[in-house]
Symmetry: C2
Subunit: 451 residues, 2 copies
Amino acid sequence: MSTQATADLLAEVQALIHEREREGVLGLAELIGPAEWADLVPQLEPNEVAVLIQWLPDEEIGEILEELPPTSAAQILRTLSANEAGQLLGEMDPDDAADVVDALPEEAVAEILVRMKPEDAEEIRQLSGYDPDTAGGIMTPEYVAVSKDATSAQAITAIRRLVDEAETVNYVYVVDEERHLLGVLSLYRLLLSGASTPVVQLMAPSTLRVKASTDQETAARILTDRNLLAIPVVDDDDHLIGIITEDDVADVIEAEATEDIERLGGSQPLNLPYRIASVPLLVRKRVGWLLLLFLAEAYTGTVLRNFQDELSAVVDLAFFIPLLIGTGGNLGSQTVTLVVRAMALGEVAMKDIAWVVWKEIRVGVVMGLAMAAVAFGRALILNVRPGVPEVVALTILAICIWAALIAGALPIVLRRLGVDPAVVSSPLIATLVDGTGLVIYFEIAKLVLKL
Amino acid sequence: MSTQATADLLAEVQALIHEREREGVLGLAELIGPAEWADLVPQLEPNEVAVLIQWLPDEEIGEILEELPPTSAAQILRTLSANEAGQLLGEMDPDDAADVVDALPEEAVAEILVRMKPEDAEEIRQLSGYDPDTAGGIMTPEYVAVSKDATSAQAITAIRRLVDEAETVNYVYVVDEERHLLGVLSLYRLLLSGASTPVVQLMAPSTLRVKASTDQETAARILTDRNLLAIPVVDDDDHLIGIITEDDVADVIEAEATEDIERLGGSQPLNLPYRIASVPLLVRKRVGWLLLLFLAEAYTGTVLRNFQDELSAVVDLAFFIPLLIGTGGNLGSQTVTLVVRAMALGEVAMKDIAWVVWKEIRVGVVMGLAMAAVAFGRALILNVRPGVPEVVALTILAICIWAALIAGALPIVLRRLGVDPAVVSSPLIATLVDGTGLVIYFEIAKLVLKL
């Protein structure tokens, strides 16, 4: 590492420690953990990373690589020899290692895996077969299982032997000869039981389990809803193949929330920390939606053109265009974020559509009345042509109800069609309300002003 | 419970089981857990809840109450006798019970607490003193601690005794006579050690810890970043007063993400599930922002009025108003959600402002050029007055850069001022860009069309 880079790194580390102290976090000796390193690594040049890797023990580098996005970790591994890369992969949790392997080109994978311990390589190879967004993709094969014929004492011996390898020893799983999952017992029950008690007497049978193909979010939600520390993952024939632990869950919840937020803002999900995302990547993820919305918005020009005569007759009407469509977009934006979030948290499902829409329409009416009163006053102050304040007030009430209606219903309808409801972003609702709002505006104007 | 309500409840339960089966979740016997009940309870009438409570064992009701928002749990407790309420509170985790107590009127609290076991009541009383958003508010006092003079065997005895009460026995904390936190040792290390080994030899000293006043999000982030199962909480004099466990963390991460999403959509945080939020509550949380944005948007009328002459001279200019300000709002919306989320995840801090703004401006330039090309074509198709297509294209480039600039900088500046950056919602950015975008538009029009 260059002297400058080292100095910068130390300065960052110190700033971090000061910030943490201010936040009330004590215990400085441990403050720079893998996640902090992972935050700093992307700021280093490749050759600096190479030096850093010689500087830290293998085990710690493994932990840092676990915290990095798989593509970044793969880039770092590619700067190393196949031997070194294999050693580091072996230090990582197999589920994280598998994600990194998925991000490496195939010829590099083959070269690295042959240099690893055969059992480690086999684990990684199996895990890399699962979609990273499923239970199979986030599970780890490092659990403790005992035969159904074992006693309590034998189970404790198994735990002692596996304590360093297993990701959690809070639960011990009981399986038959063919590794079918029979039940689970907690370490606590084991500690409390007599040495010769058979495990089948201690275990809870018909244990909750998920299939490897289950969506990771579903698996995560079950774990948190039930306050479990781990959940077993089985294949289609109910063979135990791995477990998902609580520390995977927080990451899943955070990643899914990030994805929803990005979609709601009108981007495709970055799937990468913003910090690392390059300008071309940001453009790629955003320009598609922006163009689509532009094309959708372009019809507002046609709408205005069709009402050209009304607009020329009463130019005052033009003053309120941004205000009216803006308010519709704002109200729609509020509705859509609340409904999409409620769906993500499992509070609202397809069957609730009538209930949601009815709730949002009532909200739209109340808010529309309040806004109409203010808009009426604002139009009077602007001293516009008689009749225009009434038109503006009526329009804003109608637009509020209309925006609440489509923003409440659209996410639920899209979910029904198999589309992520979060694609109904604030910009999309604003765009939809813009043109339709203009039509409402000019139709009311024609009616009231007798144009 | 009325027959109808029971039938409805059973139908819901069955629908849930079918949905879970489809998602690949097996183990039906356990499928209806506390969180599922908590989802159903708000749909029942108070008298139905009273019947449900007689129907389920106390322990399960305690778990259901833990999953409900504290205000809803408090409402249910108020329908019961002080004796019953005390019994249920005693079954709950003390940290959740304290949140419920905070939501009860003071006279009810006094009446319930005197009917509880004195040590349970004392725990709840202490915990209810902490702000629910801090480490003190989410910690539990149910941990295992041993004296620094204890041996490994004594520590294991302590764990066996506390196994049912403590929230986690993965870690055992070592304290001195005055309960100062000296270190931590894992259950795994205990299991591997000889019976007479002193705990001080096994423990990791200078353990990471947080103060009770630390923000809950900071504490949660440390737990996930370090993959810890629990973190100790100390008071200002470093006395151990509780621990935060992993299952609290997932809830914190989810709640903070929900709050950010609601703010980004232009509402105040509901602090309640959408499912339970009433229409008046929804209006209250949303109407303030909507009115504020309305007032901010109202100046667009003044802007248009000031450019009335230009508008009358070239009516064609009016056709592009929604398109131009809409695109600025959309691009700003993308930027603001990405930046706010990056700040929430700790990727971007105050010192990064120049870097973020420079990145977003480059994105704005690239996207602005693409949009300008399309806008130019669109204006040609509309067959407008010569010069107008050039004005539209130039304006869209300028607005894209302008929107990227303020949407990138504003959240960071606000954080600096101590304001939650998520208040820079998509609607706020759209509103800010609307009026300023119009000024840019007409100034460019005056220049190019020589008006």
